[in-house]
Symmetry: C2
Subunit: 295 residues, 2 copies
Amino acid sequence: MKEKEFIKIISNTLKSEYIGDDCAYLKDLGIVISQDNLVEDVHFSMKFTDAYKLGYKSAMVNISDIAASGAEPKYLTIGLSLPHNIGNEFVENFYKGLKAASDQITIVGGDLTGSDKIFISITAIGLVKDRKISSRKNAKLGYKVIVSGQHGASAAGLKDLFEGKQNKFTDVHLMPEAQVNFSSSISQNINTDYAMMDTSDGLMDALLQIAEASNVMLDVDFEKIPYDKDLEKYPNYKDLILYGGEDYQLVACVPKDFEVKNSYEIGKVIEGHGVQINGEKILNAETKLYNHFKE
Amino acid sequence: MKEKEFIKIISNTLKSEYIGDDCAYLKDLGIVISQDNLVEDVHFSMKFTDAYKLGYKSAMVNISDIAASGAEPKYLTIGLSLPHNIGNEFVENFYKGLKAASDQITIVGGDLTGSDKIFISITAIGLVKDRKISSRKNAKLGYKVIVSGQHGASAAGLKDLFEGKQNKFTDVHLMPEAQVNFSSSISQNINTDYAMMDTSDGLMDALLQIAEASNVMLDVDFEKIPYDKDLEKYPNYKDLILYGGEDYQLVACVPKDFEVKNSYEIGKVIEGHGVQINGEKILNAETKLYNHFKE
């Protein structure tokens, strides 16, 4: 709740056209830019991860933002603040992880300071050249709703990490993969406006944001959402799939006849407001969505 | 000490040509980019500042990095992590301060998350168009060493803040001004290579870095360094001037006959290694330089 309130205050104070999207599209430079903060014990815990995996995920989180815009991920800068007791191996392994995640991307600088807890802020730049940039405002009536892959695994993995387990779901949580191929297969080939977001804050959050920004309803069939059948062992597995975040898949609304390889059609854009799953309108989603400012 | 060690590890791991400078120059995009982290109780304390001044300084610190490159400061992204008890006024005043500091600059996005302490990471983008970009490697024999203004005031101000005082020095510490006019008067008019840095970590640190990167000696007359004469009341005022950081002035090495309005010539580039003040070579500067990882 407070996060949305703060963003409203920021919008009112800055009166900038750019505030509100994950990436800002700087047309004069032909780039998109995004920045993400990752804070120890808020976004990750060193009890569950290690320096290499943390570096890997930190890069992927930001590459995913660029992928969501349709741009080509190109440069990263890394602002890293570390407690005094951090050793050389941490720094080496963190940067090895960063590098492993950012194969086609160049890390061009950043900052290194002290702090009490590990604090990571990464800025990513993507190139627009020959690509069409998405906007969450661009879901149009008759478009289909597609996703790049499975949901729910990361949230299940986080649950399992808290219980001391290690399995395929914890792997997804600790080392997600940004969906750059799905992104470019749309942005390099489409010639109409389209909407796209990553599902870092959950599939439902992305669906709701697109619906709100585009002033439409997204009509989704739960059965069409791809997920790992082993999730059904979890008592609340439908919530994990719809509301669990950090899968870093992409969800897009594109024209019905526009084909996207390796995509899953989960619904369509219809008249109305919000999201309905199997015909039932989603209300009070706020209480289930992940929100950093909620205790 | 540890910071330099970490940077060496990062350089070895990434093998990127961009690591080591404050700004990375992305020639394909015609921009420079820099990122700075500001951590509560490491770089600032809410005992001494307020949200507006903190926003103002956070922007200036990053604008100063761009100014040091010679580029035109153009865009900022703001990664802000805040404790749960922070109220709406903090956010509003912080962004008012940011905006006041960045008159010609557009804030284009960022991130907002929770954290234990206030954590700010700002990325700044500068335009290269029609300007010559500096490099700390470009101090050449026979060049003069010039600065944009007074040194020592900010460090004196920090001292005074700890003693509960408020005066012109504390003002300089809390609300520094990036030297964008000094920067552009060089970068828009010069047609040879030149060196420039800001003095965020102290005048001596900048001099030593330029000398080392350029493989020359900088021969400086202490008497020519401009400073507020009221600094002489402080017992160690020469150290404040040479080693005290956060004045956010610029120091540059430019050809002897290149005139820069409102600049102060403090020395010249000669053969040798390092820095000498009034003919005396500076040794063991490390112990006096500001270093986040030193307790």
